[in-house]
Symmetry: C2
Subunit: 480 residues, 2 copies
């Protein structure tokens, strides 16, 4: 019992200190470890396996829309990074510079890619000649580097894993359509696979990506009421094409600039899963991305036949397509329960001598801890049903929590009251002036998270900050 207590005690409660709870979970659930490289993390097997599941599902969704994968070099020559003015201003302060190859200084510095727009542009310039070469719908899975000062596991680190899609189109309309299409791919993935509800919308000019004409975003609400930008999709118009000279001959034999987009999602999504679904016992994983969906834990396993029967259940479930493991170690059942809960494994299957006699086992949901006794005859069907129910209930709960934390503010007094005393998103109208965004940021460290696509509800006619006429609805919030 002493040992079991220790495992549980090691987690700070969410209410007490959310940031510490988060740090405890990523470590105790064995998702990451810190490394000797400041600001970089090690993804351990359980952490990386979640990323593999995210990758597989996102990649499938990308390919369904015609996207192809490629791989570009990880280095960008300084002169190439400098080609698009806004872009270099946004990224140069936080890139890592390679200056030597072996003992020799390089003729030109190379930065480790913080993102690869410039490399794709350089490539597109060479491979796009005619309208027949369009569209180009390329994506790559890789790691990128941004020399951040403050880092947090998954949320912000100097190196992180991501995918970056880069497309080139004949027309502005096609580029805009693709930008929005990929945002919806992201949003649907978050809701259907990660069970995380998101607000879909557009960034303000102040918050958009360096070099973009328009940035679209999905914003999720964490358990502590802070927003997490979970995926972005950018329309570059022909800005990069003009800077890099990417032109094609159209059907009328005229030279035209291409229109481009880019879109990315990162390992930060794992942080979102933790902060949306986790609880004081640790991680709670949605079944669709859980590396292990069910853990069979034998009770009184020293008794004859128990381990064998437990192994049989595992084999049956595995054959039925469930990602299942058996914990046959010599730890106590209580210790195993704690570990399974810490790791967020959606379903626990308990089986002891009495269960065997009765031809049954006990299924325990990780999310609600609800227990169900099921006949062994129905094992596969019941476990699959339960996984489905957990996935759906987790989304419903996250959505109810999110919706309960969206507050409307009609003027600055209400905004102040809300931002100081409530957690979550604040919906307020905005006049469109950056001065109001700056004021809100300065007063409360809150930012315009997005202008939602679904902005039919004009909740007021005036700006929540300055009181002048306003027609844009904005979700405001404090963000990670």
């Amino acid at each position: 019992m002493a040992k079991e207590k220790k495992l549980v005690e090691a987690i700070t409660s969410m209410e007490e200190d959310f940031a510490q709870w988060y740090t405890d979970v990523v470590k105790k659930a064995e998702l990451i470890d810190y490394s000797s490289v400041k600001g970089c993390m090690i993804l351990k097997p359980d952490g990386y396996a979640i990323w593999e599941n995210i990758q597989a599902e996102l990649d499938r969704r990308f390919k369904e829309t015609g996207v192809e994968n490629v791989y570009m070099p990880m280095f960008i020559p300084e002169s190439l990074l400098n080609k698009e003015k806004d872009h270099v201003e946004g990224f140069a302060p936080e890139v890592a510079w390679v200056t030597h190859g072996g003992a020799n200084p390089l003729q030109e510095r190379l930065c480790v890619r913080p993102t690869s727009e410039t490399l794709f542009c350089d490539f597109y310039k060479n491979v796009i000649q005619s309208y027949r070469d369009l569209p180009k719908l390329y994506n790559q899975w890789c790691s990128v580097v941004r020399w951040e000062k403050e880092t947090r596991p998954f949320l912000r680190s100097r190196e992180f894993l991501w995918q970056e899609g880069h497309t080139a189109h004949a027309t502005a309309e096609e580029a805009e359509e693709r930008t929005v299409q990929m945002l919806h791919v992201y949003a649907d993935f978050c809701e259907e696979t990660l069970a995380i509800p998101v607000v879909r919308g557009r960034k303000t000019e102040k918050e958009k990506f360096a070099g973009a004409e328009a940035t679209y975003t999905i914003e999720a609400l964490m358990h502590d009421g802070k927003a997490l930008q979970s995926g972005t999709s950018h329309n570059f118009g022909d800005g990069f094409a003009r800077a890099f000279g990417i032109q094609y001959t159209d059907k009328d034999n005229k030279l035209q600039y291409v229109h481009q987009t880019s879109w990315g999602m990162t390992t930060r999504l794992i942080g979102a899963v933790i902060m949306v679904h986790g609880d004081d016992s640790g991680l709670v994983l949605p079944p669709r991305i859980a590396p292990v969906q069910a853990m069979v834990i034998p009770i009184q396993q020293y008794k004859e036949g128990v381990l064998e029967k437990a192994a049989e259940l595992k084999e049956r479930l595995s054959a039925a397509g469930v990602r299942v493991k058996l914990d046959a170690s010599d730890k106590s059942p209580g210790w195993k329960f704690s570990e399974q809960e810490m790791r967020g494994i959606p379903v626990r299957i308990e089986l002891g001598p009495k269960d065997m006699e009765a031809g049954q086992c006990v299924l325990v949901r990780r999310d609600t801890r609800e227990k169900t006794v099921v006949s062994l005859d129905e094992l596969e069907a019941k476990v699959k049903e339960l996984l489905e129910a957990i996935q759906n209930d987790m989304f419903a709960r996250a959505k109810a929590h999110r919706d309960a934390h969206i507050h409307d503010a009609h003027n600055y007094e209400e905004f102040t009251e809300t931002v100081l005393h409530k957690q979550g998103f604040i919906r307020g109208m905005w006049c469109g002036e950056q001065a109001c965004e700056d004021k809100i940021k300065e007063d409360f460290a809150a930012t315009a998270r997005c202008m939602p696509f679904d902005d039919r509800q004009e909740i007021a006619q005036v700006c929540v900050c300055c009181g002048r006429p306003a027609h844009k609805l904005v979700y405001w919030g404090k963000a990670y």
Copy 2:
């Protein structure tokens, strides 16, 4: 016809200039493109898709042996790289150094990983305490950087994609067993999936990996008679463990050093596939890794019903699990044939109005160009059979070619005669002295590729170089 001719003319013939043929194929089959980053290549969709298939199959085989995936930082602090003497001497001359983060110089230089032994050691030092923590069987998929002077697509580039497995074990025996086990995983993969026969063996002291006690290798023979090292597996003994202080408490409560291995395969495998199977019409891909296994090409597609029927065949094959595409573009059939051949797509399916009338289509093998007329009723079964036959025949042909290019030499006169006038491996006994390896390298630029596992045939009793007593059989060869 002018256009078709152009596509074919663009390839140099293998006999004329093998190196130029290779370069032509990688470009014309659209596997890679050169980038603005000297020595780094761009993997285009067809090149990357082959890598994805290699990854999926290798990863499956790794996981079957209990291996788990992780992700380590891409940077190594200089002090960490310096911890194992032989290792740093081997790699320091060819690493890329990061010296600045943004505008600020770093306190300590970081190299971009050329390989990650030092990072894994640093990690293992923290996570291994007891015999219960062993073995650790970790692998990562990533890119690594080695600042090579001469580069060639896939074979040698400054950045390349690979996997690197790193394991830690309680005993020397276990480590040795894992080292050899992974070499066999590599060899079986090459033979079964890439249809490339390999020689399995051990490297000499001179040729082994920097810091290893023993390096095992698989060596493949390219069409031009040169050897390509295609995968290596290293046993480090406890050398790294002593340098990094990786100790565990054994069952008797005594402190012991762990024993470690590492093993890697890279995108160089794609180079091997090209150089073993390709011909003067371009790439020839083994069906098991071909991104597209069959291409449906309609004949007289402007005639009524042809395109519809071709699309139907594509759908049927796709539903049957064949990776199939339809080329419905407005190019001529001849042009499409050339493209399909250049890209190495294993099976072409021709369908024209006459075929439709007869309820048939024509299957054309890429490897032999053999044509078979098949009834549309049997389409799925026949295509699958053909893919299987192509895979097997490609291996058999490569093996026959390889075996025909293994020559025995019993003394230096025979060795000289063979190395000057024949292509391929030369089998010769070796006394074990590096002086003989050095002499052979100096005289003929040939190296000891490996000492085969299967060395029962002592083809002589004396060293092929110095004539002194010898018991080790060596495969000598010129290598990429």
